[in-house]
């Protein structure tokens, strides 16, 4: 029985209406968000169309902009996967930010001590996986709400990074806490040298493929999805629910750790205090808007990468501050969540709310 179950990679046939829904809901939510964003831009006294045009031109119009877009997309892909994989087994990894911060720290430490990026990448994977695994362990075997534990672990991780750059890893005489420039041998090589696109971007693509394969083509992934859809049924089908939950957090943490390592060794080439611009938190909205599916995550991460990369051109050309970026990135999920909830409401309740 179980072997037949695990051999199948589809949990059930998905009706066409549902598939259409999966595509149309995020698109509709994003459209509403962009319209709201346009209203905000107009309220700031700028022309919304000109602002959006400047955003697109800045992100895609030049070779430099395109390169920046691609580089900005990579950490969002990793962070989105870091949230999506645990999400598939029903866990909510709010801790991608902390796992990413520790990954960056380990990568920087390895760069300083080993002059080797491979050690840094592996160390970051392990660090991220362990940090997430702690929350996963507490949830799986002690019933500790992973939302709260990962929020706490985020703050602790950020504190550890701060301690490290202010202390043992800090560069003497720097005006702000930082490791200073990391040794050149320890940095990620460029895969497209003339666009300065580092190997981490290729790793992000690989991470998408591996995650898709893991979730939809392996027994472990099947079990993760089964646990996420119905843990009780999964338990009765002989799946060890705690180990599957724990495993999904390990995988998520590994992706987050890699995000940090690639950013430190590929883009920033140092570890400074406040080095992360909250990719871990953006990863949560990327995962949600992308339907916790690697394909959706790739699209949303690229979309958000465009917004990130084009923001400075938008600010330069139309005077709309770059601080609008998190607003435009957050709003789509707010509406998507509303649509999703609306869909699962009983029809009597819907009618009552609609009045």
């Amino acid at each position: 029985m179980l072997s037949r179950l695990t051999k199948s990679t589809r949990l059930s046939a998905v009706p066409l209406r549902t598939i259409l829904w999966y595509f149309s809901a995020p698109v509709a939510a994003t459209t509403i968000a962009l319209v709201l964003g346009a209203i905000i831009i107009a309220a700031l006294g700028a022309n919304p169309l000109a602002a959006y045009e400047a955003l697109l031109v800045g992100a895609l119009g030049t070779k430099y902009g395109l390169a920046l877009t691609i580089v900005r997309t990579a950490p969002l892909v990793f962070a989105g996967l870091a949230v999506a994989v645990p999400r598939r087994s029903g866990l909510f990894n709010i801790g991608a930010e902390g796992q990413l911060q520790l990954g960056g720290l380990v990568a920087a430490a390895a760069a300083l001590t080993h002059q080797n990026f491979a050690v840094g990448l592996l160390g970051a994977i392990v660090a991220g996986a362990l940090w997430a695994g702690l929350a996963g362990y507490l949830r799986a075997w002690h019933g500790v709400n992973e939302v709260i534990s990962t929020i706490m672990l985020n703050s602790v991780a950020i504190g550890i990074v701060l301690l490290a750059v202010q202390g043992p890893l800090g560069k003497q005489g720097a005006t702000y806490p930082t490791t200073g420039a990391l040794p050149a041998d320890s940095l990620l090589p460029f895969v497209i040298p003339d666009m300065r696109i580092h190997a981490g971007v290729a790793l992000a693509g690989l991470a998408l493929l591996i995650s898709w394969w893991l979730l939809f083509r392996t027994t472990i992934g099947y079990r993760m999805r089964a646990v996420g859809l119905n843990p009780v049924a999964a338990h009765h089908a002989g799946i060890s629910v705690p180990s599957v939950m724990f495993m999904s957090m390990l995988v998520g943490g590994a992706w987050a750790g890699l995000a940090g390592a690639c950013e430190v060794l590929g883009v920033q080439n140092q570890l400074a205090q406040d080095w992360s611009s909250g990719w871990g938190y953006t990863g949560i909205v990327v995962a949600f808007l992308g339907g916790s599916h690697p394909g959706g995550i790739a699209l949303v991460a690229l979309f958000y990468g465009v917004i990130n990369a084009g923001a400075s051109n938008m600010q330069f050309t139309t005077g709309v501050p770059g601080a609008i970026v998190p607003v435009i990135q957050g709003l789509p999920v707010l509406f998507l969540v509303l649509f999703v909830s609306w869909r699962s409401l009983p029809s009597t309740r819907r009618r009552r709310l609609a009045v």
Partner: protein, 313 residues
């Protein structure tokens, strides 16, 4: 503030610790009420930021800090209303909505601050001061120093006592706890679950907004982007470790306020551990308590569970 001595533990230290405890206490008290009704509001960080900016901006424009406080409370209510509509009426995932509110608030407050105060570039804009509290000298210099606090500090500590009484000694408190423990049973008993949750969530938002305004109007006397620096999350931690009890929250806020103050004071004292470690205490303690090594955590039974009457069997 740090007059002459380098003493880490003295009257002015206590004063500092109580002051540092206050914004977290506001947040935590609001969160206790919201969570007791079954709504987990993890957007406290974002609501604090909104409150901090609204309080600062209205305070500066009116020249009256109390108008700033009022604005912060209203902003907190309005922000938590989003969570309430989404989570209570539509049954949306409270965690997702909370995280998104945090994300949007961090961008929106920075945006509004830059637009409304374009001159703020290099220097901070000072908020108007509160009238000082006169502490009689008859109490002795130590007590006088400790008690010389903003009125809001007194308000927070009194609020903890009042809320304890309301929660555990009045029908209103029983009603609130009933909704958080078993919404269906409360509904059957004729309690309007939706209304109770809306009011509790918005009270939580108002208190978080107040905590944010304390930071900008009393503590720093200015607004800085992302100035809350995780205090909204500490508020969440305090609620859990304090076992959803206002007095538990009060004690922990004092402990964490003291830790923050030691860290602040001890810089350059050559302690064996970096003072920064102390600021991580709230998070580490929460993890230890959650892991079950110290006491047991029993949350309100229907925390984060939406109540849709039509879906009850």
């Amino acid at each position: 503030m740090d007059g002459q001595g380098f003493g880490v533990l003295d009257a002015s230290f206590l004063q500092l610790a109580i002051g540092a405890a206050t914004p977290i206490l506001f947040v935590a008290l609001g969160e206790v009420i919201a969570e007791r009704s079954g709504v987990m509001n993890i957007s406290t960080e974002g609501i604090m930021l909104n409150g901090a900016l609204a309080g600062m901006a209205v305070g500066v424009f009116t020249g009256n800090p109390w108008m700033g406080i009022l604005a912060a409370v209203l902003t907190g209510c309005a922000t938590s209303l989003v969570l309430a509509i989404w989570a209570i009426s539509f049954g949306a995932n409270q965690v997702v909505v909370g995280i998104v509110i945090n994300l949007i608030a961090s961008g929106a407050t920075t945006l509004v601050y830059q637009v409304v105060f374009p001159q703020a570039g290099g220097h901070l804009i000072r908020t108007p001061p509160f009238a000082p509290v006169e502490v009689p000298a008859a109490l002795g210099t130590t007590l006088q120093a400790v008690l010389t606090q903003n009125v809001l500090v007194y308000a927070a500590f009194v609020a903890a006592l009042i809320l304890t009484y309301l929660l555990f000694r009045t029908p209103l408190g029983l009603l609130l706890r009933a909704v958080g423990e078993s919404a269906a049973a409360a509904d059957t008993a004729g309690i309007d679950v939706v209304r109770v949750r809306y009011l509790a969530t918005m009270f939580g938002g108002a208190m978080a907004g107040l905590g944010g305004a304390y930071l900008s109007l009393v503590d720093v006397h200015a607004f800085q982007p992302n100035m809350t620096a995780g205090r909204g999350f500490i508020g969440l931690a305090v609620v859990i470790v304090g076992k959803w009890h206002p007095i538990g929250a009060l004690g922990l806020c004092l402990l964490f306020g003291a830790a923050e103050s030691v860290a602040y004071r001890a810089q350059g004292l050559g302690l064996p551990v970096p003072p920064l470690v102390l600021t991580l205490l709230p998070y580490i303690l929460t993890l230890i308590v959650l892991a079950g090594t110290v006491g047991r955590v029993v949350e309100p039974r229907e925390l984060t569970k939406p109540y849709i009457r039509e879906q009850q069997i």
